[in-house]
C-alpha cells in the first residue's frame, strides 16, 4: 500500500516532464527593438544562438507587424527555435517611433503577460534601430549584455538614467510626474549612452537631456548616491579658461510647495556636500574656499534652473513636482491633476543652493 502511494507520488512529479523546454531550442529575445519606417512598425529581435555550427552567436530578426505580439508570431516564422520573451533585457525604441506614437500602447503585452520580465531596460535610440541591432562590435560581449552594461554603468555616473519597464509604467500612470528613459546613439561606429529622453504624460517622446544635463535631473530627483560628478569653468575666479571637477557626495534636496495667486510655487532648497576631484585651474582652495563654494552653488543653481525651464517649456515633469503639489496643496492639485504639465508650466520654481566643500582630495 505504502509503496503504491509512493509510486503514485513519483508519477505525479513526472507529469511535469511532458512539457519540457530545451534551452537550445529556444529563440530567446534578449534585446527587443522597435522602430518605424514610413508608417510601418518594425520589430527587431536579437537572440543568442546555442549551436556550435553557427558562425554567428547572435540571431537578428526583423519583421514588420502592427503590434508587438503579432510581431512575435512573425518572428517565430524566421526563428530557428521557439520565440520566447521572458528573458528580455532591453527594449530599444527608435526615436522616430517614439516621437510619432505613444509608446505605452506598444508595450502593453510586456506588462499584461506575467511571463514577460518587467525589469528590462527601456532605451530610446537616436537613429535607425536596425543599425544598432545589426551592429557587431568585436570588443564587446553580446549585444544585449553590452547595451545593458553600458546603460547601467553610465547611470551610476549619472550621465544617463536607468529606467526599466516597470519604472516607466510607474512614472507614466502617476499624474504627478512624467516618464523618462535612457537614450543611446552611435558615434563613429560605437554605441554610446546619450543622456535622457523625456516623455509627456501620454508616453510620447518630447525632448532629450544631454549627458551633461542629466546629473542635475538626478540631483532634483534626490538620486545622489553614490555621487553626482560634474565639471565647471572657473573663469570667474581666475580669469582664465580653466576648469575644476567636483562631485556631490551627499546632499539634501527639500521642496516647499505653496499655492499663491492662482499658480503653484515651488522652492527647491539644495544643500550639497561636494568633494574636489580634479583641479586644472590654479586656485589655492584653502584660501578661496568660500568663493569656490559660492561658485559651485551658483553653477548648480544655474543648471537646475535652466533644466526646470526646459521642463516647463515642454510641459513635462520628470522630477515629480506634482507629487509635492498633491501632497501639500491637494485641493488645488485636484483641479489640475489631469493636465499637470500645463499647470506646472505656469508654476513659479525657485532654486537656492548651498554648497560645502568637504574634501580636496589627498594633494593640495
Amino acid at each position: 500500500m505504502k509503496a503504491a502511494a509512493l509510486l503514485l507520488c513519483v508519477a505525479l512529479f513526472l507529469s511535469g516532464c511532458g512539457m519540457n523546454t530545451k534551452l537550445d531550442s529556444l529563440t530567446m529575445t534578449l534585446t527587443l527593438g522597435l522602430d518605424t519606417d514610413g508608417g510601418k512598425l518594425l520589430s527587431y529581435s536579437s537572440s543568442p544562438v546555442f549551436n556550435k555550427d553557427a558562425k554567428e552567436h547572435t540571431e537578428v530578426i526583423e519583421v514588420n507587424a502592427s503590434s508587438l505580439r503579432e510581431g512575435r508570431y512573425k518572428i517565430d516564422l524566421f526563428a530557428s527555435g521557439r520565440a520566447v520573451g521572458g528573458k528580455i533585457q532591453n527594449v530599444v525604441i527608435g526615436k522616430a517611433l517614439a516621437k510619432k506614437k505613444e509608446i505605452p500602447s506598444l508595450l502593453d503585452v510586456l506588462y499584461r503577460d506575467p511571463k514577460n520580465s518587467t525589469t528590462a531596460l527601456l532605451i530610446v535610440y537616436d537613429g535607425p534601430v536596425k543599425e544598432l541591432m545589426e551592429s557587431k562590435q568585436k570588443d564587446k560581449p553580446r549585444l544585449a549584455v553590452a547595451i545593458k552594461d553600458l546603460i547601467m554603468t553610465t547611470a551610476v555616473d549619472k550621465q544617463t538614467v536607468k529606467t526599466n519597464l516597470l519604472d516607466f509604467h510607474r512614472t507614466l500612470f502617476d499624474k504627478g510626474c512624467t516618464p523618462f528613459a535612457s537614450e543611446m546613439t552611435r558615434k563613429n561606429g560605437k554605441m554610446m549612452a546619450n543622456g535622457t529622453a523625456l516623455f509627456d504624460n501620454k508616453g510620447k517622446y518630447v525632448t532629450s537631456l544631454s549627458p551633461k544635463e542629466t546629473p542635475f535631473l538626478q540631483l532634483l530627483r534626490k538620486e545622489i548616491k553614490p555621487a553626482i560628478p560634474f565639471t565647471l569653468r572657473t573663469a570667474a575666479l581666475t580669469g582664465k579658461k580653466e576648469n575644476i571637477s567636483v562631485s556631490i557626495e551627499h546632499g539634501k534636496v527639500r521642496y516647499e510647495t505653496r499655492y499663491r495667486n492662482g499658480r503653484f510655487q515651488f522652492h527647491v532648497q539644495i544643500d550639497a556636500g561636494v568633494i574636489i576631484t580634479e583641479k586644472i585651474a590654479d586656485i589655492d582652495i584653502s584660501k578661496k574656499q568660500k568663493k569656490l563654494e559660492k561658485m559651485i552653488a551658483h553653477e548648480i543653481k544655474t543648471k537646475t534652473t535652466a533644466l526646470v525651464k526646459t521642463f516647463q517649456h515642454h510641459h513635462v515633469d520628470p522630477v515629480g513636482f506634482g507629487l509635492y503639489a498633491r501632497a501639500y496643496e491637494y485641493d488645488h492639485w485636484k483641479k489640475v491633476e489631469n493636465d499637470w504639465g500645463k499647470a506646472f508650466a505656469a508654476a513659479d520654481v525657485s532654486v537656492s543652493v548651498k554648497a560645502k566643500v568637504i574634501s580636496y582630495g589627498v594633494i593640495h
Partner: protein, 368 residues
Amino acid sequence: MAMTRIPQNEITIFQYVFFIVGAQIGIGILSLPADVAKGSGTDGWIAIIFGGVLSIIASLIIVSIMEQHPQDTIFDLLLRYFGKWFGKLLSLLFSLYAALAATTVVFTSIHLVQVWVLPQTSNYWIMILFMIPGFLAARQGVRILGRYAEIVFYMTLWMPLLIAVPLKDGHLLHLLPVIKEGWLPIIKTVKQTILSFLGFELAFLLYPYVKEKHLAKKGIIIANGISMAAFVFVTLVGFIFYSPDEITEYVWPTLSLLKTIEFPFMERFEIIFLAAYLFVLSTTGIPYIFTAVFGIAHVLEQYDHVRVLVVGVGLYIIVSFLYTPPFADLQAFSDWWGKTGTIVGYIFPVVLWLYMKLYQWLRGGKPS
C-alpha cells in the same frame, strides 16, 4: 452528538489564533491595495483599520454567544435554539456559505497558479494536486488543522520582509495628504475590506475546542489584530511604491510588487513567492472545506465527516474537469462570498445574540 470528539481535538490558544489568522489572510490581501485605492485613494489604509475594528466587534459577539454553551459548535447551538428542522436548515445554510468560501479560494488559487506559474497545466491537474493534501488535512479534526495553521504561520514569517523590499524605491509623499476628501469615501470603502477580514466567523466552530476558554476573547482580538496589521502593512507598501493613480491598474498589486525583485541569477521572483504563498492559501481553503463538510455531516447525522469529505473532494475534482472559471466568474464568486460573508459574519451574530437574549428572558433568565 459531538462528532469529532472534543477532548481529542482540543487546541491551544495559539492554534486558535493562528487558525483564524490563516483563514483571514488568503486571497483578499493580494488585491486589497487596489480594492481600497479605488474607493478612497491612498487613504484606503484607514478604511482597513475601520474594517478591523468592525471585525473585532463581530468576533467578540460571536465569542459571547459561544460562551453560553461552551461545549457546542454553531451546529449544535442552532439545533438547540431553533428546533430540529429549522436548526438544520440554518446549519445547512452556514455550511453552504463555508462551501462557497472554500470554492472561491480553491478556484482563485488555481487561477493564480495558472496565470503566474503554470500556464500550460490544466486546472484539473492543479485541482487534484491541491485536493490530495487538502483531503489529508481536512480528514483530521480541528487539532490537526490548528497545528497546521500554526506551523504555516511560522513558516511564512519571512514574507513581509520580502514585500517590504520595493519600499526603497517608493515615495512617502504618495500618502499625503492624509484624509484627502473627507471621511465619507473612507467609510464607504470599509465595505471593500470585509472580504479580507472574513475568517473570524470560524470561531463559531472552533470555540468548543479551545482549551483555555477564558482567553478566547483576547485570542480573537489578537487574531484580528495580526490580520489587520498584515493588511495595513501590505497596503501601505503598495501605496508608497505605486502612485495612487497607478495601483488600480493592477489586478493583484501585491504580486506585482514582487516582480520588481530581481537577482542576477534569477528573474521573476514572484513565482517562488507564490509557490510558498500556496501554503497561506491552503490555511484559508482547508478550514472552510472542513467547516462545510463538518456542517453537512452534522445535518445528515453522520458520526464521522470523512464520507462527506470524500464526496466533496470528488465533486471538486469532477467540476474542475467540466468547468474552468474565467476571471469574471471568480470575481462574481468573490462578490458573493463578500455579500454572504457580511450576513454570516456580521449580521447573523448580532441577530442570534439578540434572539438568545430574548429566548432566555422569556424562559426567566435561564440558558436553555
